[in-house]
Amino acid sequence: MLDTFEILTTSGVVLWSRTYAHVSPSVVNNFIADVFIEEKSSVVGAKDGASAAVNPPYKYDQHTLRWTFEKELGIIFVAVYRSLLHLSWIDKLVDHIKTIFVKLYGDQLKKPNTTIVECLKFDEYFDQQLHELEQTGGKPDRSEVRALEDDADLEIPGEKSPAPPSLIQRSRPHDTLDSSPVATPSASRPSTPGVNHLVVAKAGPVAKMSRRARKGHNTNSGLVSSGDEGSAKKSKAKAAKRGRKWDADGFADEDDDVQLDYSAPNAITSDSEAEAAGRLGAVEEVDASTWGSNTKGKFVLRDLGEEVHSILASADAKNSIEKFDSPAGLVGSSLSAISGLFRNVVGGKVLTKEDLDKAMKGMEEHLLKKNVAREAAVRLCEGVEKELIGVKTGNFESIDARIRKAMEASLTKMLTPTSSLDLLREIDSITAPPATSLRKARPYVMSIVGVNGVGKSTNLSKICFFLLQNKYKVLIAAGDTFRSGAVEQLAVHVRNLKELTAREGGKVELYQKGYGKDAATVAKDAVAFAAQEGFDVVLIDTAGRRHNDQRLMSSLEKFAKFAQPDKILMVGEALVGTDSVAQARNFNAAFGTGRSLDGFIISKCDTVGDMVGTLVSIVHATSVPVLFVGVGQHYSDLRNFSVKWGVEKLLSSN
């Protein structure tokens, strides 16, 4: 069953919600943070106003979320249900609710400076939709059943078909219900007398049929956008209704029955009621109850159903019209072209896909020139394009300027880290935890990984220099037990650093066990040694490895498990191009589940000028932030990464 359904704005206010079972608010909060803010979902353009069937479901903590987003008004529609359940009609419900809600309250939502939307009445609309879809979605489409019914009738012509169907319906329901309670979901019984006929004919086939039909239905909803589907189904449903009435006409007393059956599902407003009614089983009893409640409210509800249908139908019609929208006449098109040109200069133009296409191509080219990997550039541009369609340009603002602005915002958002990256603060809190916390003081462990020759050891010693200047005691562990000269190289660095910082009070030692040993064990021993000797920070160097070599990469998992580093940093070259995406991805995934990279160091930034696209590529691939950039050959040439600087370089033209 549906757990909760919420309609909320991008500013975080829940406009309307219906809760059936309590769901922790963190589920939806995480969903917003992951999908909308951090854009972790790899699907491009998920922010578009696409239907819920297209948007990938978000899974979190045993819950599945189906959602859709209305961009213009900034409203998100989310349905939450247990992942165990398979509810095929949820995406349709979300889409229908979106259409209805936007139609009914769109005007209120456009008002500035308020968050209040009066939508108390929306409860009824929601109930109506929910019941309708539960009935049609939980079971096969009526028309399909009808077709199958006919088959069934043909198969067993001799048994019961001679009697008029309505008579059968009258006399038989008790038996069939008793004999085959599983055949049809009980809640939907009163609404579909047509199905009842069949059930009467034979219980078995229906069960089989419905399963088959349901399967077909499911695959349908997975593939096709639900708008078309909805309209198709509606027309079928209408046909079915008409047929029923015609059937009933022969019998005067049946007339009432049919009508009541038709409206009954609308009258039942809550789940429990529906279930109870279904459980009663006997058609007479349901009839009686609907007779009893034959009040004004029911007609109101039925009107509601019609209103909802008309809203959905008009939305569908609009969609189909838009699809086949033919261009206006010659005069009209040329006029609009001229005014478009005018507005290009003056501003105040509503951007369309055609306007943006060319300019976005230019922006993509620009990003590619800045050494951004194609994958990342395409995704960035598509995101910006989606964001800009339908947006009005400002006064005297050209399209290019607007795109630039949007791209700047998009890049800034992407490169800004989610949490604070104050390294010294973190080291302090580990090595000297506050008295109130229960943690014990221990050395802070950092390790550095990367491909061969990107500057792991060099950057390690740069970080070491920075830490020494801040008067930490640092132990460098020579984890590269493979390459000849690696340990000696570190020894030289340590010697230099000792000389450089002797006056400032830092202390640095090298921990090495020679060549050929297991790197993970060396690292573990180094951490134990540091804890014993009272070092503040352990820096672990590792052997360079090719990111697509499974054998070499697999040892990283053991390394992470043994050394338990607080931070794993990956060094990436600014020089590398498209391959940076694969490098970052493979290294990020190499540490096993539950552990990933904590940051990047981009080395050799001084060699590429403003072509710093590698930054974007790797952050795009992993959503792991960039911590440092290397800007020179000296120990002091390490810088905090400033997002503003990066974005300026990326967008600068030369």
């Binding site: 500013s11 939806v28 909060n29 943070a33 400033s642």
Partner: protein, 321 residues
């Protein structure tokens, strides 16, 4: 010919020192400025309402506070409309992605409760905007952009314009006092507060010309005091001061930002430019911010539950707006 004559006569009459002409002229001189004033002030109230900014980390209760204050008057007249939840209650909220502004009204002396419906009582009201900002780390630039005096991309020679787009009258930093009790939330909250205060400080100290920008007072709203684990306001203040001091120290020792020093145009950075409060002082306290005309006040309260409520915050906001 006759038409020309009447025109001529009219001209002569209008230039003669007759009492009618005097009266008209006098009335014109008297009322024209008044009319102009009304016209201009009316326009300006629509374009730039004074505003109060809500900032703070994610999950602190900014949007909840916003909706509480907005929905306050709605639930007040219990007589006409049987309110569903009794006293004013905020709407349920989730993580914000976009800023939201809400127009609120407070009586001119700033004493009315947010539950009073000012339209009903007929009191003269000041209107102002309360701007909610997303607290997620990736979206904080939306909040901080309100505080930066001018666009950095514009030419550096142009001095700070005295009329910023929004008339920012105050800043409310909402934080979760219950979360501060355990270790991880305090550094994150303090880091954001540090950024906000530093932006305000730069705004004040970076202003050129004779006219300093209008001071923006800061209210630190310790939210969720209705919870058992929440720290009282005084403790929140001392914890924050200690943490801000620590952050200040580590930031000063940290690495330079990329780009600094590489370009020659930023060569003129002075030492202590990024130092919050009194430069070189050992311990940080909010009093040091007074040097930059930034008044910081810590007040406890709660949006939800039976705690102290939000009345004291509203009073602060009402007085500043």
């Amino acid at each position: 010919m006759a038409a020309l004559d009447t025109l001529k006569a009219f001209f002569e009459a209008s230039l003669k020192p007759s009492p009618v002409v005097f009266a008209i002229g006098f009335a014109f001189v008297l009322f024209f400025p008044v009319l102009l004033h009304i016209l201009v002030t009316q326009k300006s109230t629509y374009t730039t309402l004074p505003s109060v900014l809500l900032v703070g980390p994610s999950g602190a209760g900014k949007t909840a506070l916003l909706t509480l204050l907005e929905r306050g008057p709605l639930s007040a007249p219990a007589g006409e409309k049987p309110s569903l939840t009794g006293p004013a209650s905020p709407a349920p909220t989730h993580t914000s992605q976009a800023p939201a502004a809400v127009e609120l009204a407070v009586s001119t002396d700033g004493t009315s409760s947010f539950r009073d419906d000012l339209d009903a009582t007929g009191a003269t009201a000041k209107r102002f905007l309360l701007i909610d900002t997303p607290g997620h780390a990736k979206l904080r630039r939306l909040a901080l952009s309100h505080l930066s005096p001018a666009k950095p991309s514009t030419s550096p020679t142009s001095s700070y314009s005295a009329t910023p787009k929004s008339r920012l009258k105050g800043l409310v930093f909402v934080l979760d006092a219950a979360a501060l009790a355990d270790g991880d939330a305090l550094p994150a909250t303090a880091a954001y507060l540090y950024d906000v205060l530093l932006a305000l400080q730069k705004r004040a100290s970076g202003a050129k010309g004779s006219k300093p920008p209008p001071a923006i007072p800061v209210l630190i709203a310790a939210n969720k005091l209705d919870l058992f684990t929440a720290l009282p306001a005084a403790l929140v203040k001392s914890n924050l001061e200690a943490e801000l001091g620590r952050i200040r120290k580590t930031r000063s020792r940290g690495l330079l930002d990329s780009g600094v020093g590489a370009d020659d145009d930023v060569a003129g950075i002075e030492e202590g430019d990024d130092w919050l409060g009194e430069y070189g002082s050992d311990k940080f306290s909010f009093k040091q911010m007074l040097e930059f005309d930034i008044e910081v006040e810590v007040v406890g309260g709660s949006v939800l539950g039976d705690g102290p409520g939000a009345d004291r915050w509203w009073k602060w906001i009402g007085q500043r707006a």
